[in-house]
Symmetry: C2
Subunit: 201 residues, 2 copies
């Protein structure tokens, strides 16, 4: 499938084969492709928790309105982000670049975020959105389906997975082998609502 | 290109042909594909401002550290979101579904968000991330390059574009015809940093 076909074919699917085990090479490929998503200042602030343990999945399902895809998908990805990514040494993100580029960009990162909690939080969530969409489209390309989820008790899940205090938990993406196709695609809002030109009126 | 090749080929490009004009059918196709991104409760809370007016683009460039891709890309997309999407009548999002599904999901939406400003803001930003990543990959598939941007004075840009008070401005994506390829892809953080299994330790 080309990219247009993949975007069209990706649907939020909730019925997965609970017996399916994702081969390690598919998991590695999904992670590799997800890590090609762009991030601000190349900080790669997203963090992926790959949950396969069946007991933990059951506990998360209990915190997610008993939604079956939490346990039945082959892998449950929990998309988090490091809220302190901007504080790290910029060479972690930029040592591939020429020194003169490093000298310009490196010192910009920390002051851009420091003290602006909303921007830091926004960047965490935005980055997981970019990475998560890449993950879902990559999964479709490998023959899997997925379903982005925010319907769970985020505080209790954070406690269960021992989320570090300086991480944000953004959303979850079960990925697995579908046993049923999704519902018909939901209606799309008209361009009149979604799209504006040059300025909002 | 298949999806893997598109994800690998997409790079953040900053040098665009300022003379290139995006055909209307390409713009329409980018908008169509972007609108296939998933959103929580199918709210489609993302809003796309398509900026082509050259004078407005110059003014935005002045608010964005004079970065040339703001004016030189064929189209500048500004990704925003409606912070009141959850308050609208659910039939706007769910009238395609069977009545029993509408009866369950419709009443869930408003209480899920109401009074939780951080969740509302997160949902706005997350949704623009999902839509924006779809847009960038779709653009690559159509032969364009792009560059997600947060390096601009968001308050002043919001004023300039007359951002409605109940909208959030998330980020910008110039899309155009490249005149130079991007820098070499930035180094990737190791899986040791990005990926954890089952629980954070």
């Amino acid at each position: 499938m080309n990219i247009t076909e993949v975007i069209e074919a990706r649907r939020s699917v909730k019925n997965f084969d609970p017996e399916h085990i994702m081969p390690e090479e598919d998991l590695a490929e999904l992670i590799r492709l997800t890590k090609l998503a762009p991030s601000s200042f190349n900080m790669q602030n997203y963090r992926l928790l790959v949950v396969r343990d069946k007991e933990i999945r059951k506990q998360i399902r209990n915190l997610a309105w008993d939604q079956a895809h939490v346990t039945d998908a082959s892998v449950l990805f929990i998309l988090c982000a490091d809220l302190t990514a901007h504080q790290k040494d910029a060479s972690l993100y930029w040592s591939h670049a020429p020194q003169e580029v490093q000298d310009i960009i490196g010192p910009m990162i920390k002051p851009f975020y420091e003290g602006n909690d909303r921007l830091i939080r926004d960047e965490a969530v935005r980055s997981t959105g970019l990475a998560g969409m890449t993950l879902m489209l990559a999964a479709k390309g490998l023959g899997y389906d997925s379903c982005p989820m925010i319907g769970f008790d985020a505080e209790k899940v954070a406690e269960l997975i021992k989320l570090p205090a300086h991480y944000a938990l953004s959303f979850m993406i079960p990925v697995g082998m579908p046993t049923q196709t999704g519902w018909d695609r939901g209606q799309r809002l008209s361009d009149d609502i979604v799209v504006s030109y040059d300025k909002f009126s």
